[in-house]
């Protein structure tokens, strides 16, 4: 037993690349995850744009109380809507209408408008909780909500739904992560298996060129990935009622573009790895990092700023943006066009690099 133990350890320690991928890469990934989950007291405060068309004491009181718990920024209605609807930097904006204070002091009812992005999920819930908190704080001064003089009206700026379920927020990300796992490993390992089985020797001298053969293999993985993604989300839709958005064409386009990028990532792993064994730690690090930074596990609004700044460099970010726009914001085909184009561009770049690396390693003449 000792002999086998020593032999296996010796083999492992001789593979320097596997050593790096087994130790160094997980350290990097854990750091990313820790930053995303546990950024302590330096975490971003909830951004709440406010539109103070009232200008009176009621609005001022609300804004003051809100400011003790969130990053409150007064701005115009157009700017507030832009932040919520277009830039997705705020989950909701509060509009204090004109004459709010006057009507309140006259004992008449009025409405505070909450402009929402339901896709923001937990952040939107956070804003609503803040309003409840503020209500309690304001009870000492007055109790407008308790007396039903001021009511809250929600308006969805990004679709037709006022809320989304937690399941709808999480399922697309996890579905994409499982596709990442299956397709990245499947693609990279299948390339190296040809070498292990000896069939690479035949493929390299087959007519038509090696690149054509590699593309055939990748096409098979692409089909598997698309079917997997569709099955996962269809299951979520029919069994758990998760919405798939309003555009089947948009859904298929985004799925195809995302899976194309995933397959290309698998080819890149195949090109970087020197052996089948190396595809495991390398692929795992890629999947973990891309999942964490792409917002597959948690909303990107919960990440530190530095992670949000670099996240567009990861194609999974664009997949999640597309999925959120499609499913949570019911954005339709137009909403996924930009993410799809970006995904195709990323995929093409990774594919070219991966093919070149693999050819250089294993088919150089």
């Amino acid at each position: 037993m000792l002999a086998v133990f020593r032999k296996d350890l010796r083999i492992f320690l001789r593979d320097r690349s596997a050593l790096v991928f087994s130790l160094l890469m997980p350290i990097l990934v854990i750091t990313v995850i820790a930053e995303g989950l546990f950024h302590g007291d330096d975490g971003p405060q909830l951004l709440v744009p406010v539109v103070n068309d009232d200008g009176g004491p009621v609005a001022s009181t609300f804004i003051k109380l809100l400011g003790e718990h969130a990053d409150v920024r007064p701005m115009s209605r157009a700017e507030a809507e832009h932040l919520v609807r277009d830039k997705h930097e705020a989950a909701a904006a509060i509009v204090f209408p004109p004459q709010l204070s006057k009507q309140y002091l006259q004992g008449r009812s009025s409405e505070i408008l909450l402009l929402t992005d339901p896709a923001a999920g937990s952040d939107l819930q956070g804003v609503k909780v803040l309003l409840l908190l503020m209500d309690k704080d304001a009870a000492a001064l007055a109790d407008p909500f308790a007396e039903d003089k001021i009511t809250l009206k929600e308006q969805n700026l990004t679709g037709n739904r006022l809320s989304v379920t937690v399941f709808e927020q999480r399922v697309p990300g996890f579905a994409l992560m499982f596709v990442l796992l299956a397709v990245v490993f499947g693609t990279s390992m299948s390339m190296h298996e040809e070498r292990d089985w000896g069939t690479l020797a035949r493929l390299l001298v087959a007519p038509g060129g090696f690149t054509r053969i590699l593309l055939g293999k990748l096409a098979a993985r692409f089909v598997v990935g698309v079917v997997q993604m569709i099955v996962l989300l269809a299951w979520a839709h029919f069994v758990f009622g998760v919405s798939l958005g309003t555009s089947p064409v948009g859904f298929l386009l985004l799925t195809a573009a995302s899976v194309f990028a995933v397959v290309a990532a698998g080819m890149l792993v195949a090109g970087l790895a020197q052996s089948r064994e190396q595809t495991l730690p390398l692929g795992l690090c890629l999947v973990m990092a891309f999942s964490a930074l792409g917002g597959l596990w948690w909303p990107q609004s919960a990440q530190p700023d530095w992670m949000n700044r670099i996240s567009p460099a990861f194609f999974t970010t664009w997949s999640m943006r597309g999925l959120n726009d499609l499913i949570l914001r019911e954005g339709g085909l137009r909403a996924v066009l930009l993410p799809a184009v970006v995904l195709l561009a990323y995929g093409a770049a990774m594919l070219v690099l991966g093919l070149r690396l693999f050819r250089f390693r294993f088919s150089a003449r």
């Binding site: 020797a201 035949r202 087959a206 007519p207 003449r365």
Partner: protein, 331 residues
């Protein structure tokens, strides 16, 4: 001391293309370098169509590298090679369509059946769908695996995998087949199947380049043999030609009824090089036993000796290799 027993064919420099077209394979000063070390050093050969051409040599002689250059897997560092008139670097795709390879290592998909493996490689090489089933069946018949065609390769013995490995090279009906040590670690039954398959290919007009380090295979199977050592072809010709030009000795071992008092008459026989005696055993070294044996018998009869047993050890390719390179083929 290395001696060239046969002049390697010198191509006519003025009309190289015409020479190239009439032969299945033409190599001219082919070289391949790895990291400053030349593993194939100026090989020039011509292989006529329909021949089983053997490449015999020890491990590391450069046989596989030479085959890899012919198959277009590797680009020659310098020199030229043609396959049925197509240049291996200028007409890569055309060359690949003319030939097929059974690599030294098995090249099979273990989770597919034999028929599926063959069908895949047939399709890869562009065999039309209408012909594919027939080609697959034919290849399976040739290698003797028709009864196991629907079994997964992972269930096959080593010998059966080797046979299927060969079948995958045949299914495309190539004009040239490159077989790299096809019988390594193969059972006798599978070896016999492989030999039969190779002979059948020749009967159909296919050219076969067969590398091996088993001299018995080269002797039994090949029309002509090139002996390679350290990247060079040191001799090339038919078996008879190679043996005829060898200065190596054949050994005649005789057991007599009584120990001879003298062997001088035996030593005087024409062609006898040396005589050794140990008791009643005599070992006679001669260039050609066939010519010397009758005279040896007469000489011993004249001395009154009765011969109980005769054994002749002929010159083999191993002897030829030893004479040319100073080492045994199995070293």
């Amino acid at each position: 001391m290395k001696t060239s027993l046969r002049t390697v064919h010198v191509l006519e420099p003025l009309r190289p293309q015409l020479r190239a077209v009439s032969s299945a394979v033409v190599l001219r000063d082919l070289r391949r370098e790895y990291g400053g070390r030349e593993v194939v050093r100026g090989v020039s050969l011509e292989i006529p169509a329909g021949e089983i051409f053997g490449l015999l040599g020890p491990n590391g002689a450069g046989k596989t590298t030479l085959l890899s250059m012919i198959s277009t897997r590797l680009r020659p560092t310098s020199g030229d090679a043609w396959v049925h008139g197509k240049h291996v670097t200028q007409d890569v795709d055309a060359v690949r369509r003319l030939l097929n390879v059974a690599p030294q290592e098995e090249a099979l998909y273990p989770s597919l059946t034999a028929a599926e493996n063959l069908s895949f490689f047939a399709e890869l090489y562009g065999v039309p769908r209408s012909e594919r089933a027939g080609r697959v069946a034919e290849a399976l018949e040739v290698v003797g695996l028709i009864g196991r065609k629907d079994d997964r390769v992972s269930s096959y013995s080593g010998g059966m995998r080797r046979r299927l490995n060969l079948g995958c090279a045949l299914v495309t009906a190539p004009r040239l087949v490159l077989l790299d040590e096809p019988t390594v670690a193969v059972d006798p039954q599978s070896r016999a199947h492989i030999f039969d398959a190779v002979r059948e290919l020749r009967a159909r007009g296919t050219t076969i380049v067969y590398t091996t380090h088993y001299l018995e295979e080269a002797e039994d199977l090949c029309d002509r043999i090139a002996i390679m050592d350290e990247g060079q072809v040191v001799a090339c010709g038919s078996l008879d030609e190679l043996l005829a030009h060898s200065r190596a000795s054949e050994v005649i071992e005789l057991r007599l009824q009584a120990a001879p008092a003298t062997v001088t008459p035996v030593e005087a026989v024409e062609g006898v090089q040396k005589v050794e005696t140990v008791g009643t055993e005599i070992r006679i070294f001669t260039a050609r036993a066939q010519h010397a044996l009758p005279r040896i018998y007469r000489a011993l009869s004249g001395l009154g000796h009765r011969i109980l047993r005769t054994r002749v050890t002929p010159v083999t390719l191993d002897d030829v290799f030893l004479e040319l390179t100073g080492k045994a083929l199995r070293d």
